[in-house]
């Protein structure tokens, strides 16, 4: 009997897990707004923009001490300040979709909205700048 009970618990856990994973996949994929920040190709920070309710800023400090300040608002993200010489990342402004990333070349930092099917379902394939 004890064994059976154990099995039943295992079944329930499995079911809950599979249900949970399914729900997770669908829920996360739907709005399509996870912003990932990469430095040298390595993801150093992630935020689900669809879960952001109030704006905030966050500094990304690289190993060499260079700083990019992210501004995060519901559904969008930008680099509001940076100590890079060219300031192209700051001039790029807000992004709210996966069509184009924000790039800080001097710091080899890229901000992309992705992590789901957003790219394929987005209205545009690319953006010319």
């Amino acid at each position: 009997m004890i064994k059976t009970r154990t099995w039943i618990i295992i079944i329930l856990v499995l079911l809950a897990a599979s249900g949970g994973i399914t729900a997770f996949l669908y829920a996360k994929k739907a709005p399509g707004s996870i912003a990932n920040v990469y430095v040298d190709g390595e993801c150093v920070y992630s935020v689900d923009l669809s879960l952001v309710t109030q704006g905030y800023t966050r500094e990304i400090i690289s190993k060499d001490g260079s700083v990019n300040t992210l501004s995060i608002e519901p559904g969008r993200i930008c680099i509001s300040a940076a100590d890079c010489p060219d300031q192209v990342c700051v001039h790029t402004g807000w992004i709210a979709d996966s069509v184009a990333p924000i790039v800080c070349l001097p710091h080899r930092l890229v901000v992309r909205i992705e992590g789901n099917s957003a790219k394929e379902e987005s209205e545009f394939d690319s953006v010319v700048r």
Binding site: M1, K3, T4, W7, I8, I10, I11, L14, L15, S18, G19, I21, T22, L25, Y26, K29, G41, C78, P85, D86, Q87, V88, H91, T92, G93, W94, I95, A96, V99, A100, P101, V103, L105, P106, R108, V110, S117, K119, E120, E121, E123, F124, D125, S126, V127, V128, R129
Partner: protein, 359 residues
């Protein structure tokens, strides 16, 4: 007891199978929806490359090894064409004023000179010392002294660049020379040219559908896997975080020049990086961005800069004279002008109006 155990085990198996089915069906559906495959089942591969002072996003439908070759091609071009890398052919040319170069470098320089000529100097690849003086190459921005600019402008003249081909058959060599005190930079055509060469490589390797975003320049190969046109959003120069509209293209290139990304401010005045070769100052002829759509990346890249420098009237006259490309011009007040070939291919967003330019 035993029956119950067996029943329990069966139930487990069934549940497991069911939940597995549920999971796999979800993921297959997702893959289908998200377009991970081309029309003949070619796999979608993407790659991000840091090269030529910019970020490149390559998306192809085909073998991943082709991306390795594309990356190699891009890195090879960068090694030859970089103006700052002391091992590059261009660096050597600028130092020695005369250098033997590879075929592709000779081809690009000659193509660029032809464009300088065609645009009557609105594009000038010998403007480099002036751009450097403004600090755009080193990011130590400052407004130069007028006398200094005037002195540097003395040596800005693309007609002082000569490309010589020597020998024949397999023994061809290329020599490029520039005048004393002259330095050139191919930055205004390199990314466009690179996109053109990558497109050729991909076609050679059997890739019939690809999207290459080379630091904001968009080169497409063929159509999308479903046969429809690529939809490329055009940045609004007034609000770079939003779009002006979008163009629909197949197997073509779209390139924008504007002063809205690379600029600095001094004493409250904004100075951008597109220098007018006739004045030595940032081009200020009434346009905030120029977008060129055409077949040749190099051509479109150079023209986007040249037409931005020319200003609206000059750009329109140039298009009316040659017309082997299409353009989207945005003036300093945000008005949009498109050439007539784009009617139906360019759609402005948010109910914005556009004026169609006709021949």
């Amino acid at each position: 007891m035993n029956y119950f155990k067996i029943y329990a085990k069966k139930t487990i198996v069934i549940f497991c199978v069911l939940s597995l089915c549920l999971l796999t069906s979800c993921s297959t559906k997702r893959q289908g929806m998200s377009g991970l495959f081309g029309k003949n089942g070619e796999e979608k591969h993407t790659r991000t490359i840091f090269s030529m002072d910019t970020v490149m996003d390559l998306t192809i439908y085909g073998d991943e090894e082709v991306l390795d070759e594309a990356e190699e091609l891009i890195k090879g071009l960068e090694d030859k064409l970089s103006v700052t890398d002391s091992a590059s052919e261009i660096y050597m040319l600028n130092q020695e004023k005369c250098a033997r170069v590879s075929e592709s470098t000779a081809e690009l320089i000659q193509g660029a000179i032809d464009l300088c000529d065609k645009t009557k100097g609105a594009l000038d690849i010998s403007i480099y010392p002036v751009v450097a003086e403004w600090g755009f190459t080193t990011d130590h921005h400052h407004v130069p002294e007028e006398s200094h600019l005037a002195a540097l402008l003395q040596n800005v003249d693309y007609s002082g660049i000569k490309v010589e081909t020597m020998g024949n058959g397999n023994e061809v060599s290329y020599t490029v020379s520039v005048e004393e005190n002259m330095s050139i930079d191919l930055g205004s055509v390199t990314k466009g040219y690179t996109g053109e060469l990558v497109r050729e490589l991909l076609l050679e390797k059997g890739v019939t559908s690809a999207l290459l975003n080379l630091g904001g320049n968009v080169q497409t190969v063929g159509a999308k896997p479903d046969g429809s046109a690529w939809r490329i959003a055009v940045t609004d120069p007034m609000q770079p975080e939003s779009y002006l509209g979008f163009v629909e293209i197949i197997d073509q290139v779209v390139i924008t020049s504007g002063g809205y990304q690379r600029f600095f401010e001094e004493d409250g005045v904004r100075y951008h990086h597109v220098i007018d070769p006739s004045t030595g100052y940032p081009a200020n002829n009434g346009l905030s961005s120029v977008t060129i759509i055409g077949d040749s990346g190099m051509h479109c890249d150079g023209l986007s800069t040249a037409l931005f420098v020319m200003g609206l009237d000059g750009a329109i006259r140039f298009w009316q004279e040659y017309g082997d490309f299409e353009g989207i011009f945005v003036d300093d007040d945000g008005n949009i002008y498109v050439t007539e070939g784009l009617e139906g291919n360019f759609s402005p967003l948010k109910g914005r109006k556009m004026q169609v330019i006709r021949k």
